[in-house]
Symmetry: C2
Subunit: 421 residues, 2 copies
């Protein structure tokens, strides 16, 4: 491996075909933002869009804006934009509610399908290292169904190997995060879904840590359902609404219990009798937060202009650089690279472990270099190609080197643990 220097990083930035996207975001001077895997940065135009929604659509349009400003159609309209980024096809995605709630809907629908097709299957598999909320939602569902359903946790290696130990004719459903939120491990959607289908189970993918960061082909890879958020690599704003996708094969075959009026075939007839809408609208529930939804659209529109193959290429180049620099510049320190080196198994983040990870991250953040920390010892650095450059990675690792070489993390102020999101 050749020695890298800052000048080389500057040359990479100058040649970066995605460089222009940096201007689509407003990030304070002096901030290097490496937490876009948790909350994406603010796109230019987001505040203006909120102003327009509040002053014009709400303030002047008032109730009429449900029709005239397209509010009622926003879940489907934004869904199409997400679909374009995740290979969902037309009319198969809506933006609504939260990822956790959408997973409950998807898992409920999948289990109900299996109840007809394979009534004895009662096991739900998911990664032990899946984002905990997904596990909790599946446990909540299994407990509510109260009919022998059981959530079993499997290690990442078991998933990668195609479920040799855990798949059986009792498995109804497998729910997988596409990228491990802690380690950044990426799972291969096609081969994993094939293994799930070969076992007779249905596959639900959680795309929270991959949508907007790499090319995804839900329909092409044979997934059954998917959920994900819009506030990480899609830059939709804090807590912006999530999405849910269902394979065309399952349209009109599924039912879900959160069957509010937005999922009704004719919501404005206000009938006391429920009749599900055709297609993906069946996954809607109630009235959506239009201000947050409108702001989310600004982030989706930026992502829609980007070539996801170029995004992926730059993401891997950034994470390769990060890993190389950690090896070259931090060699004197007990730092472990947690993220897989194999491109096929790497999402868009680099996680490194150090016993003093919390204090090191605090010291970094104090300099305006913002990553985050996950117990027990992991420093996470999200790499959003649309607003990060190669010199940002250089400067981050140099700051890490300075903090480690000079033990700058070793002060009481950096040891105080609060709630870290």
């Amino acid at each position: 491996m050749t020695e890298i220097d800052r000048a080389a990083c500057e040359r990479h930035d100058a040649a970066d075909p995605l460089r222009g996207f940096r201007d689509d975001f407003i990030i304070d001077e002096g901030t290097i933002y490496l937490d876009g895997n948790s909350l994406g940065a603010r796109p230019r135009g987001a505040a203006e869009r909120a102003q327009e929604v509040i002053a014009e659509e709400w303030g002047t349009g008032l109730i009429r804006s449900w029709n005239t400003a397209g509010w009622f159609e926003m879940p489907a309209a934004l869904g199409e934009k997400v679909s374009g980024l995740v290979g969902g096809g037309a009319g198969s995605t809506v933006v609504t509610d939260t990822t956790s709630i959408n997973l409950f809907k998807a898992a409920s629908a999948a289990l109900r399908i299996q109840r007809e097709d394979a009534p004895d299957r009662r096991i739900i598999l998911t990664q032990r290292e899946n984002f905990p909320s997904d596990i909790y939602m599946l446990q909540g569902l299994a407990e509510q169904l109260d009919d022998g359903y059981e959530v079993r946790l499997v290690d990442d290696a078991e998933v990668t190997a195609g479920f040799p130990q855990s798949m059986s004719d009792e498995v109804a459903l497998v729910v997988l995060t596409h990228v491990n939120y802690r380690t950044g491990r990426l799972f291969d959607m096609r081969s994993t879904t094939e293994a799930i289908h070969a076992g007779g189970a249905l596959a639900i993918w959680d795309l929270c840590h991959s949508a907007g960061a790499l090319p995804i082909d839900l329909a092409g890879d044979g997934a059954d359902m998917a959920v994900g958020c819009t506030y990480k690599f899609l830059n939709g704003g804090p807590g912006s609404p999530a999405f849910i996708w269902v394979s065309e094969d399952l349209h009109n075959r599924f039912a879900q219990p959160l069957s509010g009026w937005w999922s009704h075939a004719k919501p404005f007839e206000m009938s006391p009798d429920y009749a599900p809408a055709d297609g993906i609208r069946r996954f809607l529930t109630g009235t959506q937060g239009i201000v947050s939804m409108s702001v989310a659209e600004v982030g989706l529109d930026v992502a829609a202009r980007a070539d996801m193959s170029a995004v992926r290429a730059k993401s891997l180049a950034l994470s390769d650089l990060f890993i190389d620099l950690v090896e070259q510049r931090l060699a004197a320190h007990p730092v472990e690279i947690v993220t897989p080196r194999d491109h096929a198994h790497r999402g868009s983040q680099v996680s490194i472990a150090h016993e003093e990870g919390f204090a090191i991250m605090s010291a970094l953040i104090d300099r305006g270099i913002i990553g985050d920390y996950r117990e027990p010892s992991i420093l996470r650095f999200g790499l959003t190609p649309l607003y990060l450059g190669f010199t940002d990675v250089w400067d981050t690792v140099e700051a890490l080197r300075d903090i480690l070489d000079n033990r700058l993390w070793d002060t009481p102020e950096y040891q105080v643990r609060g709630a870290v999101t």
Copy 2:
């Protein structure tokens, strides 16, 4: 009944102790807004708050704002503000998700309690004229539980009479809207809840059409759980997040299936094992839309400054005036007053029926007088005391008179039905 004229209305306005609140809202010149029972008007400061959240908290604070800007605490912080308006007591309310989803949580939790206390009860009662989404959610839940649960619809008169026909030792739960969204009928919370408890059932109230419009005493009236929205009389913005309340008696006794990480006792430990938080946080699920939530707080803060008894007094005076004027000024026309005349049974709207209701409402809206229409023939006029005056009511009925006297509704352009929300 003495003849009323506009001058009398002007005198009422001049003497109105709530008159100053009009300046807390921005409503276009020439608009009389009578649809606050569907979507409240825009409070002053809402756009500025969104700007602050997006530019400063998100833009500059980035991920840190989950702690430093109090984002993570918002459901509980806003819950306290709602609680002050509905008599919920401290630590018993959160603002989160949608009314439909919160009803699913509450009903799931209530049925689980009953399963322990009274395992043979399998019937859920609700009004036939409850807002349809509530009915659909209960049906979705009953179907999912798949264990003999059944949703039975009862007429408003049956509720008012204390369930003489429908209550039995099979009834587990009664879910009631506090105000009928179509007719404006108000149900007495205390006596109705007593009848429900006397029958051995639990009571969940939907406060969508009463919170912010009249004094509510959830704890004092003995309710078990309640849900409601913040975008009607609480002026939180389009689709702003809903609330959920649980009686202190039931704290830590309940479980709900939408058990995402925000309901976990220690969410940031990221444990694969679920452990519910104590208290009302157990009703949370996933990450909330912070922009919509922040804007909602502006509306809640306005309501918190208002004396709900004064709001109720003015609401009744406005609806009395509306009804009197309909009788005096529209006597020549086949208009039926649908809203109960009895104050004890009247919410904060006046609904009138006319066969050509749709076209009449279209003509009214064309003049900037905005109410709404509900099938089959109902014109609804929401009366929000904080931004409506007595002359507004006068001008509305006069416009109605002009439209009816001169058959101005009878043009093709007013007959075209779209989706009316």
